[in-house]
Point group: C2
Chain length 281, copies 2
Amino acid sequence: MKSSPLLLDGNRVAIDIKNQLVGRVSKLKERDIVPCLATILVGEDPASATYVRMKGNACSRVGIRSIRIELPEETTTEELIRAIKQLNDDQSVHGILLQHPVPSHIDERAAFEAISIDKDVDGVTMQGFAQNAFGIAAFPSCTPAAIMEILKYYELPIAGKHAVVIGRSPILGKPVSAMLLNKDATVTTCHSRTSNLEQHVRSADIVVAAVGKPKFVQGDWIKPGAVVLDAGYNPGNVGDVDFEACIPHVSAITPVPAGVGPVTITMLLKHTVEAAERSKR
Amino acid sequence: MKSSPLLLDGNRVAIDIKNQLVGRVSKLKERDIVPCLATILVGEDPASATYVRMKGNACSRVGIRSIRIELPEETTTEELIRAIKQLNDDQSVHGILLQHPVPSHIDERAAFEAISIDKDVDGVTMQGFAQNAFGIAAFPSCTPAAIMEILKYYELPIAGKHAVVIGRSPILGKPVSAMLLNKDATVTTCHSRTSNLEQHVRSADIVVAAVGKPKFVQGDWIKPGAVVLDAGYNPGNVGDVDFEACIPHVSAITPVPAGVGPVTITMLLKHTVEAAERSKR
């Protein structure tokens, strides 16, 4: 009889980590340090505004202070960078999150690079990317960090496994490939130009879906016993993986919602607390 | 009848590029700019001293000036960084090469990071690594650059191909994986902890061997028609690939010596000329 697969419950991981963070925040407050995340929202995009509000609420639930910088749509790159540098210099701020995408007239990369590496809790700077790729401590992007955290929480082995990452964005596919490689996985990075994608996925022990296409990964692509992590979040609460179709094949899988998503936002909180712990005040 | 494979002659690539460089150096000299590479050698290691001398000689053959900084074995990290910063500030120096490995008491990473990104012609800084991974212009490490140059010279297609890189060092396996990915290959990075290495190599259209083990890659691992690039250089002029055994299987292959090696040193020259072209003087 086939046993049912392990459901990688992101809410459970998130709750456990948040409980730990509450304790760490209390300890910081005993030292008169209040961890603080500054979020920056440029323009009026309603989805972005919602994300920023959710992040602020998540902060307050574990005792992290958050401050919201809201800049008008017509903000220039230079003005945005000036605002970021003020936050870099503000000793009461431990983490900086620039909600992206920013309006298209802004040089987003230049804005990201203005964030001090010590406060880059969202893992968007190139220096942070390189340090993570080289195995030198830095805050990684939050979704890759969440994927690694779920694997760790459920004690799923990585070393020697073949991981296939579908997607190569600078904040997801590329860093998660690097992080899996540093944990001794053999890593294949696939993307829109990959030929025989199914064949690559079929050989994977660990599949990370980061494509941004609903139900893209099919059940019959999955090697029996593989672990599937779905970083997708498409309209209608649908992931990049056809969850129902994969269930008969996987040994473990993240659902959508309540998989990678809740852990991602928790990683932002965790990085902010860590930044506060490292700071002098 | 099976046609014989294409021999990817690194000397030919190197000569063509050097001829171009001679012309570019002449043009720079008309503007009173003499491209200049500063090499830094710490300690007395005879092999390192030979490499530095070879690089200096290669410079002079295309008209690049080279200056040699020789520091004693007991140089501290701080002293080395001070020497690097002087070269950063010296407007007549366009490229800086720190011969490595440096003596073990020196923090090599800190020394690399002291090199200005504009003068990092050997592609050793983390910023340079990240920029290359993100597809933002920077000088890549010279061996990965040489591999990409050979593929380009011989017009071997990369997009949509499956590239298997054996090795994950910060100056070879990791950057060449990133560069192949940015040229739309599907990239698998293998290493010492990889299970079923042969199986991965068997599925590759492009194999990059960067293991540092003589004749490690076997002929019967090679998919018929694959392209093999051997970045190994082991004692006795032996590569990481069993060249003779691979010949019946490959469509194209680099020999050792006279494959990747001569192009690597040429990349250093090319980057130095490019740095000079970008500089004001």
